[in-house]
Amino acid sequence: MLTTAATALTLEAVTKRFRNGIVAVNDLSLSLGTGVLGLLGPNGAGKTTLMQMIATITRPTGGRILFDGRDITSDPDFLREKLGYLPQDFGVYDGLTAVQFLTYFAALKGVSSRSRVAEMLEMVNLHTVANRAVGGFSGGMKQRLGIAQALINDPALLIVDEPTAGLDPEERLRFRNILSDIGFDRLVIFSTHIVSDIESIATEIAVMKSGRLIVTATPPDLLRAATGSVWETTIAQDRFDEARRALRIARSVRNSSGVHLRVVSPGCPLPGAVAVEPDLEDAFIYALNFGAAQ
């Protein structure tokens, strides 16, 4: 559970089965307070569908989602008043200026203060281009505009779905810093499949695979779980293909003496392999492949 604050969001056996029979989210339960939850999982794990259900865009086909004790499936407006949402691949209306775009979403969220729009643009460092058409913005600028619209109503729950996809390293860092700054007194759910996006800001990490929640833990606990399961060794070049098929390789570097491997395995994977300290990427691979489903 995130921090010591009162539970804000509770998911009880949430399931989403589509018309075509695909079960995107399967019997998932979770309780969250305030802080930043990093929702990790490979593509197709069900992260986006889970976030869409929490954001009241699509309804679960089973289970309940409670926010501050209220069932948002039957009373979605209760959460919508307090929600900020940045969807995956967020687009913009090219012809509008940043001010017009933000004012529009402010109006939809019932925010009438013009100064709030200016404040948000300043926070995401777009105030200098406030009156420029957003069609000419870079990907990073559009994402910052997206986070500005998500925050315009000062939400208690902020959901951001793969917000750093396609951003350059500088923009990713800027984006992480914004989320880190705002994650103190509210619940932020940050979905990604890139571990480095959340390792410095997440107070808790949830790992999803095939619609199921594999594990929820704080980053130190996740690291602790993988301790003793990460190994490094160097093998001959001609054994690499065989090793790649048989092992969970976190990283590989070719050098003059062969291929240096970093392997995630509960036991010693190869003769001569040396146990090393896991990082969060290793811990994610460990949870994904060797963690027990909830």
Binding site: A55, Y93, Q100, L108
Partner: protein
Amino acid sequence: MTVRRVLAVARTDVRVRMARGSSAALLVALCILAYVIVPDLSTGRALMQVNGHRALYNSATIALATSSLCAVLLGMLGFYLISNTIRRDIVTRTGFVVASTPVRNAEYLAGKLLGSIAFLTLVVLVYIVNVMAMQLLRGEAPIEPLRYATIFLAAMGPAVVVVAGFALMFECVYPLSGRFGDIAYFFVWVMLLTIPASTAEAIGSGVGSYFDVFGIAFLINASKPQAIADFHNVHPEVSIGSSRFDPAQIPWRFDGVKWSWHVVGTRAASAALVIPLFVIAWLAFARFDPARVKGSTGGARGSVLARIGAPLAPLVRAVRPESWAGPGLARMALGEIALTIMLYPTVLAAALATAIAGVVVREHALRSALLPIVFVALVAALAEIPTRDRAARVDAIRSGIPRTRRLSVPAKLLGALGLALAFVIVPLARMIATSPRDALSLGIGAALIASAAVGMGTLARTPKLFAGISMLYLYIVMSSPHAADFDFAGWNGAATDGVRVAYFVAAIALAGIAVLAEWLGGRAERS
């Protein structure tokens, strides 16, 4: 419902529409339309005639005639112009954000409806200004702005409101929110056009005048009483639209609409048709739920045309269209045909059915029924060819393949022509034997519809411009069996050699527009 939210949605909708380059093109088109629709009397043509007497160019005549013509055009083209307002929010994924806000479905939809009405009203206002300018240049009486305002409000008000309502409703109701809906609306438009006209004979009492969206009954009821009185003829012939007049006849002065509560009531009742349309839209609106919205991920429903074609998948697999594509213009064109068949197997079945029907039906049925149906089917089959790469976001991938970018539009033109010919090949073969000149027209017609699909689609970056204009044009062709000028595909047997040359030139010009638009678009993206 909060007015502020409704207005915010409406204002943004209008802003987004006005920011598009196509809006500027639309305004230019309205200037040209006004210039053409109010002919200069010195050319021997007039806008309106009654019993062979041209109507004097005063404000009442020009406002009544131009508003009626505009309402009919707007009824068709206006729908395609505005029927992407919710789709836009799906494509940009801003709809997901909208869905996560406290905005109510009724507020959002009312805002979208209001935005569409405001945009169409703006279009009409620009048109009115242009028409008034034409009266200044070609009129025979002073401009009366109040008369313009009242007549346009009565004639066009219901059209603007109801067309906006239909566009919203079609976008919200799943089976109608795509190419199937675009075709289906054509039949709605025809129905709305013909029912009031057919019941307007009994002056003022026709039930159809309460459903007179495009003001046809209003036009007839407004002009006929005075014409009957002036010409002592209970069935005066009223014609609207540019036509030759006899200068020896004294011009007829139309004094204007005789307003009554009945007139106001029927116009208000026609406009009120928007209410059930809005209610249907509200009930059917999926609020961007990815499980219910077409084009979203996650088990959402596909298009109606794709679902209809699904059982034909084994037939498509048997002809292995995926192997047709390859490098070079010819293989790329084949690739376009293959992609169309794979996406919509119905196209393959329709082409085969047309070929069989082309063999078995009689010559008269071939011309009067089969070929019109074939061209309506071609509108649906060809409309997406120039825009589907961009819609599926594969245009950048395709551009990266050597020589593909340069050959893309020519290949689409050739592919569209190939598909069009596949549909008409059997009727063409029969007509070559019986009437070679009409067969030539049919070949030119196939080329015209192919280049129109690619030309308009590449220019507007949406299939809707082509769908709207071509359906309107097909209606005119079907309604004018003896007019040589409209016999673009020879099925009426009225086309002259000059008409054939004109349509051939038009086909070449539209192909040129496609190439030019792609080149300009590519240059803009590179810069």
